[in-house]
């Protein structure tokens, strides 16, 4: 039986001002699988994720997607409105996840913060709110750029278990991280 891919990239290369960021990167992401993108600072991890998302175009190579729903993306920027409350920031998320919002808020120690304006939260707490959007998302592909930055140990453990759980629900994950997330994932290194 041939496995259908969600993302298939062939010989991706990217140049900025004639400087090669990465070249000839090929990979395939199937359902229920994870891809860990590693590399030193400035190796092009974020750029590769943006190419996967369709925001940027590769200098060479091709990328094909076979998705039936939107991708869910968490980038370096949290896409949170600083002057709105946590609850207001979640308006665009369809709260239909199996796990109720209250439970998720408890899991990441933000249960009493729903009415708090985002600018009054710490960087780590804001990161957790951004992750909460990921937790509430029903996309079949999660794309996470350095999801552990700013998270405490408990939140990192929760994130790992959440991602492992999602993999079992026919979902796929592509993430870049300097921290090993302890989930079953293929790995590509952009330094090579």
């Amino acid at each position: 039986m041939t496995m259908t891919y969600l993302i298939q990239a062939e010989n991706l290369s990217y140049k900025i001002n004639e400087k090669k960021l990465f070249q000839n990167i090929s990979f395939e992401v199937n359902a229920n699988s994870a891809l860990h993108i590693t590399g030193s600072n400035g190796s092009g991890k974020t750029t590769l994720l943006r190419i996967i998302l369709g925001i940027s175009k590769p200098t060479r190579g091709s990328i094909e997607t076979n998705l039936t729903s939107d991708m869910c993306y968490l980038g370096h920027k949290n896409a949170l409105k600083q002057y709105l409350t946590v609850e207001d920031n979640l308006i665009l998320q369809s709260i239909q996840h199996n796990k109720p919002l209250d439970t998720l808020l408890k899991d990441i120690d933000l249960y009493d913060k729903l009415d708090v304006v985002v600018s009054n939260l710490s960087f780590g707490q804001q990161k957790k709110i951004a992750l909460l959007k990921v937790f509430l998302n029903e996309s079949e592909l999660l794309v996470l750029d350095e999801p552990c930055v700013g998270l405490d140990g408990k939140a990192q453990t929760f994130l790992t278990s959440f991602l492992q759980e999602e993999l079992g629900k026919n979902k796929s994950i592509i993430f870049s991280s300097h921290i090993n997330l302890n989930i079953d994932a293929k790995s590509i290194n952009l330094d090579n």
């Binding site: 998302l53 369709g54 925001i55 940027s56 175009k57 939107d70 991708m71 993306y73 980038g75 370096h76 920027k77 949290n78 896409a79 949170l80 409105k81 600083q82 002057y83 709105l84 207001d88 308006i91 665009l92």
Partner: protein, 215 residues
């Protein structure tokens, strides 16, 4: 529906974003009589020129950072990757700005018109023109600001200005038409025609410009 409410909430919570331009409009319209002779005829002569320029300035102020905030906090990236049309969201955004700034400015402008001209008819006829022109101004300034998303709004305004000049000419002619009792509805239909083209094309163009910025 959620996106409509979210955009409304975003602007409403930023009182600087919507109340500021309205207050500037009130300030201009209240202050200008102080700078001319206190004869009603003199005020009437200058009123409509000041009105159109004030509406234009206020719409320029209102749209100064309409996309910049979303660009800086990563919201635009999120919009681009979701299948919901980016141009639709941009259209919604402009509509909300018009609802919270354009409509109040049009109402206040009509009240000032009544105060200066003492003519209910004039105030009633000017109101729809104000509504339409403020929406067109908003769209055009949004286009200019999207072109210079990361380069500041001054350059965007300069780029937009040539597009606004023909509209200012038409607005001047509308006042003459009302005063002479001629062709008012023809001008209104012309303005509606321009608006109906702009309302569809500008969000579409802006969506391409934003995609290019993000790339």
């Amino acid at each position: 529906m959620n996106i409509l409410y979210f955009e409304f909430l975003k602007l409403r919570k930023k009182s600087r974003g919507w109340l500021g331009p309205i207050l500037v409009f009130i300030l201009i319209m209240t202050a200008f009589p102080l700078t001319v002779e206190f004869l009603n005829e003199d005020l009437e002569q200058a009123f409509f020129s000041i009105l159109w320029i004030a509406v234009l300035l206020v719409m320029m102020l209102a749209t100064e950072d309409i996309f910049l905030e979303d660009f800086n906090d990563g919201s635009l990236e999120q919009l681009v990757i979701h299948t919901e049309s980016l141009s639709f969201v941009i259209g919604v955004k402009i509509l909300i700005y018009w609802a919270l700034i354009g409509i109040p400015v049009s109402v206040i402008g009509s009240i000032y018109c009544l105060g200066i001209t003492s003519s209910y008819e004039m105030a009633l006829l000017i109101f729809p023109v104000l509504l339409i022109s403020s929406y067109i101004f908003l769209n055009l300034f949004c286009f200019g600001n999207s072109l210079t998303l990361t380069k500041g709004s001054v350059l965007g305004t300069l780029i937009t200005m040539p597009l606004l000049l023909p509209l200012l000419v038409v607005l001047g002619k509308v006042v003459i038409a009302i005063n002479l009792g001629l062709n008012y509805f023809d001008f209104l239909i012309l303005l509606l025609g321009v608006l109906s083209i702009i309302i569809v094309t500008i969000p579409l163009i802006i969506s391409f410009v934003i995609r290019a910025h993000l790339e």
